[in-house]
C-alpha cells in the first residue's frame, strides 16, 4: 500500500471512531492502534491475574465462612476478568503464550498497587473498598471504548466488580463497629492503602504520555487527574460515615470548586514501585512464574489425554 493510501485509511478510521462506530478485530486498523490496545489490554489482564495474589493470601484465614465465600468468589471473578481480557487481546493477533511471556519476563507491566503487601485482615477490606473502587472509576468509561472486544469485556467486568467494592466496605464497616483493636486495624489499613490507591489512577496529566492519543481512541474519556478527583470526592464521605480518618492533613473541602483539595502525592514512590522496587514486586512475579511452571505438567497431561481420547474415537469409528 502506498503512503497516501495508508493516510487515507487512517483518516477514515479516525472518522469512524469519532462517529462512535466500534472497531472489530478483523477491521483494518493503524498499527499503532493495534499495538496500543495490545499493551493496554494485556496490562489490564495481567493486573487482574497478579491482583489475585494479595487476596489469595487471606482466603485460608478469612474470619468467617461468609467472608471466605465472598473472598473466594471475588478472586475467582478476577481470574475470569483476566481471561475475558486476555481473549479480547488475542483477537488482535497475539497468542496467549506470548502475553504470558511478556508478563513473566518483566516486559509487560501490571498495576503497581499489587506490589504492596496485605498484612492484616483489614487489608481485604481496604483493597475491596479503595483498590476496586479506584479500578471501577478507571473501568466504567472503558465500557464505551472504541475497540469492540475490549468494550464488551469491560461491560462484563464492571457488572461483576460492584460486589467487590461493597464486600470490602462491609469488612471495614464491621471492623469499625468492633473492639478498639479492630478499629485501629481498619484505620491502619486505610493509612497504608490510601496513597497507593490515589497513585493507581496514574501519573498527573502533565506527566502522562499516552493521554492525548488515548482520548481520541476512547481508551480514555477523562484525564488521570479528573478521575483521581472523582475518586477522592466520592471516597472521603464514605470514610467519614464509618468514622475513619483519611491520612492526609491537607485534605480540605473546597466550597468554590465543590471538591476536596488534597496533599502532595509521593510520585517518587510511585515510580520506584513501577520500576520494580516496591515491597512485593519480586514475590508477586515469583509466585506467578512458579504457578505457571508448576502447572506445566498439568497442561501437558491434559493435552496428552485429549489426544489419546481423540485417537480412541477414530479407532472405534474404523
Amino acid at each position: 500500500m502506498s503512503e497516501e493510501q495508508i493516510k487515507n485509511l487512517e483518516k477514515q478510521f479516525e472518522e469512524r471512531i469519532a462517529r462512535d462506530e466500534k472497531i472489530e478485530p478483523k477491521d483494518w486498523m493503524p498499527d499503532k492502534y493495534r499495538q496500543t490496545h495490545i499493551r493496554q489490554m494485556s496490562q489490564h489482564a495481567h493486573s487482574e491475574i497478579v491482583g489475585m495474589l494479595p487476596e489469595g493470601n487471606w482466603i485460608s484465614r478469612a474470619p468467617t465462612l461468609r467472608r471466605k465465600v465472598a473472598l473466594l468468589a471475588k478472586v475467582q471473578d478476577e481470574a475470569g476478568h483476566g481471561l475475558y481480557l486476555y481473549s479480547a487481546c488475542e483477537t488482535l493477533g497475539i497468542s496467549r503464550d506470548a502475553l504470558y511471556e511478556q508478563l513473566h519476563s518483566g516486559k509487560a507491566k501490571y498495576s503497581s498497587i499489587f506490589n504492596y503487601p496485605t498484612v492484616t485482615w483489614a487489608d481485604m477490606g481496604a483493597v475491596g473498598w479503595l483498590v476496586d473502587g479506584a479500578a471501577i472509576i478507571n473501568q466504567v468509561p472503558l465500557c464505551s471504548t472504541s475497540f469492540g472486544p475490549y468494550a464488551r469485556a469491560m461491560v462484563r467486568v464492571c457488572k461483576e466488580e460492584s460486589f467487590h467494592q461493597r464486600q470490602g466496605y462491609e469488612i471495614m464497616l464491621k471492623l469499625t463497629q468492633g473492639t478498639p483493636e479492630q478499629i485501629d486495624m481498619a484505620q491502619d489499613a486505610l493509612n497504608r492503602w490510601w496513597w497507593p490507591s490515589l497513585m493507581m489512577l496514574g501519573p498527573t496529566d502533565a506527566e502522562s504520555v499516552h493521554t492525548e492519543q488515548s482520548m481520541k481512541w476512547k481508551l480514555k474519556r477523562k484525564s488521570n487527574d479528573d478521575l483521581r478527583q472523582q475518586f477522592i470526592d466520592q471516597t472521603v464521605p464514605q470514610a467519614e460515615l464509618i468514622g475513619l480518618t483519611i491520612p492526609d492533613p491537607d485534605l480540605k473541602w473546597n466550597e468554590e470548586r465543590g471538591s476536596y483539595d488534597f496533599g502532595e502525592i509521593n510520585w517518587d514512590e510511585f515510580w520506584q514501585v513501577v520500576k520494580g522496587h516496591g515491597p512485593m514486586n519480586k514475590e508477586r512475579m515469583k509466585a506467578r512464574i512458579d504457578a505457571w511452571e508448576g502447572g506445566e505438567w498439568v497442561r501437558d497431561a491434559a493435552m496428552a489425554h485429549a489426544e489419546k481420547k481423540a485417537e480412541r474415537k477414530i479407532k472405534q469409528a474404523i
Binding site: A73, Q76, E160, K282
Partner: protein, 111 residues
C-alpha cells in the same frame, strides 16, 4: 533469586518449553430458553469437554446461561471486512424487499 535471575531463568525455560498449547475455543451461551445462543467470548482448553467446563466457570458464574456451545476457533470461517462492499452492498438498493416500498391507499386495513 533476584528479579534479573528470575527473568533469565524464565527466558531460558521458555525456549525449551513444549509448544503444545491448548487450542482456542469460542463460547456461545443461551441465556434462557426462547433466546438464541449468543457469542460470549473465547477460552483455551485441551478438548471440547474441558472447554465446556471452563466456559461454565468463566462465562456463567452468575446464572447467565442454560445452555453452552463451544467450537474450536479454527473451525469458524469468517467473512473478511475488506469484502463488505461486494458482500453486503447489493442489499442496499433493494428497497422493494421492504413493505414500505409499496404504495397503498390510506384506508386499507390490516396490511
Amino acid at each position: 533469586m533476584s528479579l534479573a535471575l528470575l527473568k533469565e531463568h524464565y527466558t531460558n525455560k521458555n525456549i525449551i518449553m513444549s509448544t503444545k498449547n491448548w487450542p482456542l475455543w469460542e463460547v456461545f451461551v443461551r441465556s434462557k430458553n426462547g433466546l438464541e445462543h449468543r457469542h460470549f467470548g473465547s477460552l483455551h482448553a485441551a478438548d471440547a469437554e474441558m472447554a465446556l467446563e471452563n466456559a461454565r466457570d468463566v462465562y456463567t458464574r452468575r446464572n447467565e446461561g442454560v445452555s453452552i456451545w463451544v467450537v474450536e476457533s479454527k473451525d469458524i470461517t469468517a467473512s473478511n471486512p475488506e469484502h463488505n462492499g461486494e458482500l453486503f452492498e447489493p442489499a442496499q438498493d433493494k428497497v422493494y424487499r421492504h413493505p414500505t416500498f409499496y404504495d397503498l391507499p390510506d384506508d386499507v386495513k390490516y396490511m
